[in-house]
């Protein structure tokens, strides 16, 4: 691939508004109402009127044609829309598509949105069809798939359930600093709490698995020339790339290596930065094994070494790596598709460090002088991998 082509989108677009809505419990609210509320709040945050929105990007487990349903609900007539569904990473791929459509001049203002009321509507909600050649064995998807990966990872690298538990403990420590987190009041976790939690699919127990909550989120994107004139600090999209190698876990080429190796490599090349340049690292932690795999696959350490990297709370608030600083899907919020919340936290850390008021955190919850964040999305069963690199203006 030509280097100039891959860099074409670098810094051309920016997020100028963001919001979340109904996170935790939102009984009495539909997925669409939660999603649309987030869009209106994100537009208010940006200071951009609904009438200016001409690009709509959305996915949920509640609407098979989410971009169309959302556009109708908002009363928007988009000139370009995309409701591609590749699981929880969909939004990070929508961001790439929105950047392409903005850069091509097809649209001027894009919203990327998500909403879910799965918790108040009865529990984990999926839009997925049954997988041929797997369904008759009745796997408890998605947990079984991640358990199979975790078991193989432990076998290949001598990792233990304690290594996985370190991830959950650090995520909770971040959540304790974030008043928005669902478990903010729940107190810290110990390794023993995680190990003794109810087994779901061995080797994963309940506290190796993400929360089940309600919630929605939205962001507003424009071309960078316009972003300079909006009321908040614009956060620029410096790199974005996606890749997937399988849909069913039985087709995953190697259970301990994800296609984040490829998406991460190309996103970092586009951005011109390296993993160690990132002030904050936001990873799609639907299960504890995810954080280990993505730290390795995105280049923060070698394959098999993340278990060392996450020891001694090194990815917690007092650690060297600022990973999942909102508390993650494990301890902050997870309405079924977590990708836009990975993005929100990457953006919020940069805006806070630039002086915007994006909410309160306890001491240590905000990362001082944060300038670059990586947001990594995962979808399906370690299937779709999408990496976005975000930066403030002086990283352009």
């Amino acid at each position: 691939m030509d280097q100039n082509d891959i860099n074409r989108l670098r810094g051309k677009t920016a997020v100028v508004g963001l919001a979340e809505s109904g996170c935790g419990l939102a009984s009495g609210w539909s997925a669409m109402e939660i999603m649309a509320s987030a869009v209106h709040d994100a537009l208010d945050d940006a200071g951009i009127k609904l009438k200016e929105v001409d690009g709509v990007f959305a996915a949920t487990a509640f609407h098979s044609m989410a971009a169309m349903s959302l556009s109708e609900y908002l009363g928007v007539k988009p000139k370009f829309a995309d409701g591609s569904q590749i699981g929880g990473s969909s939004f990070l791929s929508h961001i790439l598509t929105a950047a392409m459509a903005l850069d091509a001049g097809l649209i001027n203002v894009a919203v990327v949105a998500y909403g879910s009321n799965q918790k108040s509507a009865g529990g984990f909600k999926t839009i997925s069809e049954a997988m041929p050649y797997e369904a008759q064995y009745q796997p408890r998807m998605p947990v079984t798939a991640y358990a199979l990966s975790a078991k193989r990872y432990m076998n290949e690298f001598g990792a233990t359930r304690e290594d996985l538990a370190n991830v959950a403990v650090s995520a909770r420590d971040w959540a304790l600093l974030n008043p928005r987190a669902y478990t903010h009041q729940d107190g810290p976790l110990t390794i023993n709490d995680v190990l003794s939690a109810r087994p779901i699919v061995d080797p994963l127990g309940k506290l190796d698995c993400c929360l089940v909550t309600d919630g929605g989120a939205a962001i507003v994107m424009t071309r960078s020339d316009r972003a300079k004139d909006t009321k908040n600090t614009p956060i620029y999209l410096l790199g974005a790339a996606m890749e997937h190698h399988h849909r069913m876990i039985s087709e995953m080429p190697d259970l301990v290596q994800t296609s984040a190796i490829e998406s991460g490599k190309r996103a970092f090349i586009m951005s011109g930065y390296k993993p160690n340049d990132m002030s904050t690292i936001q990873l799609y932690d639907a299960f504890t094994i995810n954080t280990l795999l993505f730290l390795e696959d995105l280049g923060f350490c070698k394959k098999g070494e993340a278990r060392e990297l996450v020891k001694n709370n090194n990815i917690g608030p007092a650690g060297n790596l600022k990973v999942n600083t909102n508390g993650g899907g494990l301890s902050c919020v997870h309405p079924g598709m977590y990708g836009l919340f990975v993005t929100l936290e990457a953006l919020r850390q940069l805006r806070n460090a630039s002086g915007d008021d994006v909410g309160q955190r306890l001491n240590g919850g905000w990362i001082d002088n944060a300038k670059l964040s990586v947001a990594h999305g995962n979808g399906g069963v370690l299937s779709s991998q999408v990496t976005n690199i975000w930066g403030v203006s002086d990283t352009l």
């Binding site: 078991k151 193989r152 061995d202």
Partner: protein, 127 residues
């Protein structure tokens, strides 16, 4: 040519029909001399269509395994594994005849055709 498919069935149904006859069959690409699973209309990745069905040896090895916890009144815990077949391809299946949490990576297994919920299914036993 696949323009007119009337009167034939696709590879998925062919696979199920073989199972109903008590045969565990997998596909092989003749020109590449390579096996693959799951059944498809062409070799994945390069598209060769000179395929034939071959009876699998049934020999395999546990690539990964999980114990799915389930209430006793709903049938109890069960094993779910990924098995690498001797011929190369990998598939999901259950390993039975052993405690569901005692199946370990690298164990040799042998296929038999059993049934799950009234449908024929490939199940593996520890060798």
């Amino acid at each position: 040519m696949a323009e007119n498919l009337a009167g034939t069935v696709g590879p998925e149904q062919q696979f199920k029909n073989f199972l109903s006859e008590g045969k565990f069959m997998i596909q092989r690409c003749k020109s590449l001399n390579k096996f693959f699973f799951h059944p498809r209309v062409a070799f994945p990745g390069s598209g060769e269509r000179d395929l034939e069905w071959v009876e699998a040896s049934g020999n395999g090895e546990v690539y990964s395994s999980s114990c799915n916890r389930r209430l006793p009144e709903k049938g109890g815990d069960f094993n779910l594994s990924l098995i690498t077949l001797e011929e190369g391809p990998r598939m999901m299946a259950r390993v039975e005849g052993i405690d569901p949490d005692k199946v370990e990576i690298g164990q040799k297994v042998k296929a038999r055709i059993s049934s799950l919920n009234g449908e024929p299914a490939v199940i593996f036993d520890i060798v």
